[in-house]
């Protein structure tokens, strides 16, 4: 009996030790969002929503490789193991789906679920149509015309026209569980509190505006991405100083986007600042309407040569990558442009003089800027820096400052709209994750505002041909080559005032280990542990 008790005690101790060894702690994250992102599938709150509530709880057919900090993220198989376009009919795509995948509620994942999820955002007559998710997802898959489940693990998607960017579009679409939606009385409001995806994390607790608690999904299909933490807690902390104080006082272990002026104090206290290049830029999108001074390539090049980007770094606590092009220098699509974007005041002045400007003949331009905004970094001091730089080459900049929400409206309206009041540029930061968002949407003749986001009304036959070639090049490597060629034209024609790139800074307590910051808007949280 005594021996039995001792055995039980030993087992209990062993079990405790084993669980202690496996327990990897709780990570509390202070987000910049004011609320928990939409939990039902398609997230809101922009990149942060997808980062924390999208690719954690859900999967898409095609995903981003988030395992490396040293190279740009590329597409990898997700819930689809392979995909291909029909050689005869380039509008027909076949996706082979991964077998053996289950949702958090235990339901199996099949092609019927993909059809159901696409209906959820595209088919207003479907029972599961959700306006909130549709608002987030519909505009991300403009190529999709129809879709059909061929069998349990084969899906066919037909596009409106040949479009080789479809795989990138499909990364946006996240798969919710139909069975769970039915179990929740087919009510998305109820699903929000208890959602079910196939992702590596399960949503355990969700309190609006307060917190979301995610726990590992032990049956996740990719063993290498089963989270090591016991729990990840998401806390909305929209005010930068409140976020910093929460980290410094130990109430959270990780914050997104620390204010640059708090970083030295954090580093001094042993906190780790993680950052990396990613597909983001900070530009002036130039008006190309008739009469705009930015139509002169010499002026555009001069402006790009007049800015000492390295000199801007202290303003941002060093957290920036000086622009060498529209895309970050580390991008797989950067190419080899001939125009070297650098600081060369003499060359800039020579170009301005060649264009007819000088000390006695200044160029007057009006520029739209905002005092703050998502991804805008520190827009006021940065724009003042640009203003002073351009003044050195006789470009006098008059600012029109508008609040961020209104700025978005003016950006959507385009340079020709009366509401922009004659502004010749708009300071906007761009999400450059894929061919469409990275290059096509800004300069496509068919997307001139208000039909799209070509704010400056640029339209060029050669560029249009390149865009068409991107959409019609179905071999990924060949498509990358066309993307590089397109970006070279962006730079060589100095189509934007290209200033800097953000590096997605985040600050974390020294006990947070194992995080690898991918060159992407999204991140992998599965490798993280807490060292107590």
């Amino acid at each position: 009996m005594l021996r039995l008790k001792a055995g039980i005690a030993a087992l209990a101790v062993a079990a405790t030790m084993a669980s202690a060894a496996m327990a990897q702690g709780t990570l509390r994250i202070g987000m910049t969002a004011a609320d928990i992102p939409l939990t039902t599938g398609q997230t809101d709150q922009g990149g942060e929503g997808m980062r924390f509530m999208g690719y954690t709880v859900y999967d898409s057919l095609i995903e981003w490789d988030l395992t490396s900090a040293d190279k740009p993220s590329v597409l990898i198989p997700g819930l689809a193991t392979e995909w291909s376009v029909d050689e005869e009919d380039k509008t027909k795509w076949t996706f082979t789906l991964r077998e053996g995948v289950t949702f958090h509620d235990g339901a199996p994942f099949t092609a019927a679920d993909v059809v159901w999820n696409l209906d959820k955002i595209l088919d207003e007559s479907s029972e599961q149509y959700d306006p909130r998710q549709s608002a987030q997802g519909k505009s991300r898959i403009p190529a999709v015309a129809s879709y059909e489940a061929i069998d349990d693990y084969t899906l066919e998607i037909t596009t409106k026209e040949p479009d080789a960017t479809l795989p990138y579009q499909m990364t946006w679409i996240l798969m919710s569980s139909k069975a769970n939606w039915e179990a929740m009385d087919k009510d998305w409001e109820k699903v929000a509190g208890s959602p079910s995806g196939t992702g590596p994390w399960k949503l355990e607790t969700f309190v609006p505006r307060e917190r979301a608690e995610l726990v590992p999904f032990a049956d996740y299909w990719d063993d290498s991405r089963v989270p090591q933490l016991d729990k990840m807690v998401l806390i909305p902390l929209p005010e930068p100083n409140a976020r910093s104080a929460a980290l410094l006082s130990g109430q959270v272990d990780w914050i997104e986007a620390p204010a640059p002026d708090t970083i030295p104090a954090m580093e001094g206290n042993g906190f780790v600042i993680s950052s990396n290049a990613y597909p983001h830029n900070w530009t002036w999108h130039l008006s190309r309407l008739e009469g705009s001074p930015w139509n002169d390539i010499r002026v555009r090049k001069a402006a790009n040569l007049a800015i000492d980007r390295e000199g801007m770094a202290p303003l941002l606590g060093g957290l920036m990558v000086p622009a060498k092009g529209f895309l970050p220098p580390s991008s797989q699509w950067f190419g080899n442009p001939s125009f070297d974007i650098s600081y060369d005041l003499d060359a800039a002045k020579a170009l301005m003089e060649e264009a007819g400007y000088g000390p006695d003949n200044h160029l007057q331009v009006k520029a739209l800027i905002s005092p703050s905004g998502s991804g805008q970094m520190l827009p006021l001091p940065m724009n003042e820096y640009v203003q002073q730089s351009l003044a050195e080459i006789w470009i006098d900049v008059e600012f029109s400052v508008v609040e961020w929400n209104q700025m978005i409206n003016l950006w959507r309206a385009g340079a020709a709209d009366p509401s922009v009041d004659g502004a010749m540029s708009v300071n906007f930061t761009y999400f450059l994750q894929d061919p469409f968002t990275g290059l096509i949407r800004h300069l496509d003749c068919n997307l001139i505002a208000p039909n799209g986001t070509n704010w400056g009304h640029y339209c060029d036959d050669e560029m249009q041909a390149l865009f068409s070639e991107i959409k019609n090049t179905f071999d990924p490597e060949a498509q990358d080559a066309v993307m590089r060629k397109t970006h070279e034209k962006y730079v060589d024609d100095a189509l934007f005032l290209m200033v800097t790139h953000d590096v997605a800074p985040r600050a974390m307590a020294p006990k947070v280990k194992g995080f690898v910051q991918a060159q992407n808007w999204y991140q992998n949280f599965s490798s993280i542990t807490i060292e107590e």
């Binding site: 509390r28 004011a34 609320d35 809101d44 922009g46 306006p131 909130r132 608002a135 987030q136 519909k138 505009s139 991300r140 403009p142 409001e189 309190v207 609006p208 505006r209 307060e210 917190r211 807690v233 806390i235 909305p236 902390l237 929209p238 005010e239 100083n241 409140a242 104080a245 929460a246 410094l248 006082s249 130990g250 109430q251 508008v402 609040e403 961020w404 929400n405 209104q406 978005i408 409206n409 950006w411 959507r412 968002t437 949407r441 208000p450 039909n451 799209g452 986001t453």
Partner: protein, 317 residues
């Protein structure tokens, strides 16, 4: 007293109507698009138009107002555009948190303000009076959000004694009366109390100083009344005006703490309001402003009635 109360209550109705019109129109005047919060910024014009129609934002303003008021009459404040949750749930939850913070700040501020003001008024033109005046002016002048940041740096970051954010552990917003939650209340309540301490102290000082010089006070002393009894009379005379100032301050504390709630990530109506403004969340914005404005109207009504109860002369004017 009852007829006075009813008269004042009837006067509230046009004020409430005016408040509803103003808060509906105010948020319409601001530039920006409420759909920005719920759509990718590069959504097509067609998709934006469809969503605008779905939310009824394509209708003329008078129609939108009529629908809004009609729904309000049925207790429906609509749904937040940004979150899809009922505005009533969002607003009343936040107002409860703000009320908790405001009352806590008032509990700190009013006794201290009254005590300091009375002290300064009684010992007028002495060093003590000047010291209290200096404290009051400092309290009113120091930007309270700055003070909040300083207190966070000292007590949260450097000393680690008190938390810097939220209404409970781990960002919790649901309140319960235990130390884990109360410690979250201390810094924001103290920060918020600083301005009303100054205002109440200045008011009470002026009132007490003025009343103490009046003839009836000399008469009371002449009748042999003790100092304590005389001060009770002085307090009774000062109470109506002091009460009105404190009532207004409570209104300001509830609606005017946007910066404090932002600094401390306190999930109250000010914090909700600032988020609603940045997101152009019209239903939430309208609902929050309306509730705060009506609270202010209600506070005024309560103060008026309380003043009349304390000082019968008010009913006759």
């Amino acid at each position: 007293m009852l007829s006075y109360f009813l008269r004042r209550l009837i006067l509230v109705l046009p004020v409430a109507f005016g408040v509803s019109v103003i808060c509906f129109l105010l948020v319409q005047i601001a530039p920006g698009d409420p759909l920005t919060a719920i759509m990718p910024i590069d959504a097509t014009a067609e998709e934006q138009a469809a969503m605008r129609a779905a939310y009824g934002l394509d209708k003329p303003l008078p129609i939108q107002y009529a629908i809004w008021v009609g729904n309000l009459m049925q207790g429906d404040m609509g749904k937040s555009i940004a979150t899809g949750r009922p505005v009533a749930d969002e607003v009343f939850g936040a107002v409860q948190n703000s009320l908790l913070l405001a009352v806590s700040a008032a509990v700190i501020a009013f006794p201290i303000g009254i005590f300091l003001g009375f002290l300064a008024g009684y010992f007028r033109d002495t060093l003590l009076d000047r010291a209290v005046t200096a404290v009051s002016i400092t309290g009113v002048s120091v930007p309270n959000y700055w003070l909040g940041i300083v207190l966070v740096i000292i007590f949260s970051v450097n000393l680690g004694w008190l938390p810097s954010m939220g209404a409970g552990p781990g960002g919790s917003q649901s309140w319960s009366w235990d130390w884990l939650h109360i410690r979250h209340l201390i810094l924001p309540a103290v920060t918020l109390a600083v301005v009303p301490i100054g205002i109440v102290a200045r008011t009470v000082r002026a009132l007490a100083g003025d009343i103490l010089t009046q003839d009836f006070v000399q008469a009371l002393y002449a009748k042999g009344m003790s100092r304590g009894d005389v001060l009770r009379h002085v307090a009774r005379n000062a109470a109506a005006t002091a009460l009105s100032v404190m009532g207004l301050q409570l209104g300001y504390l509830l609606g005017g703490s946007i910066l404090i709630e932002t600094v401390f990530n306190w999930p109250g109506s000010g914090f909700l309001l600032s988020n609603a403004i940045f997101q152009r969340d019209l239903p939430l914005l309208q609902g929050t402003i309306l509730i705060l404005a009506l609270f202010f109207v209600a506070m005024n009504l309560i103060v008026d009635v309380a003043q009349a109860a304390i000082d019968p002369r008010i009913k006759r004017t």
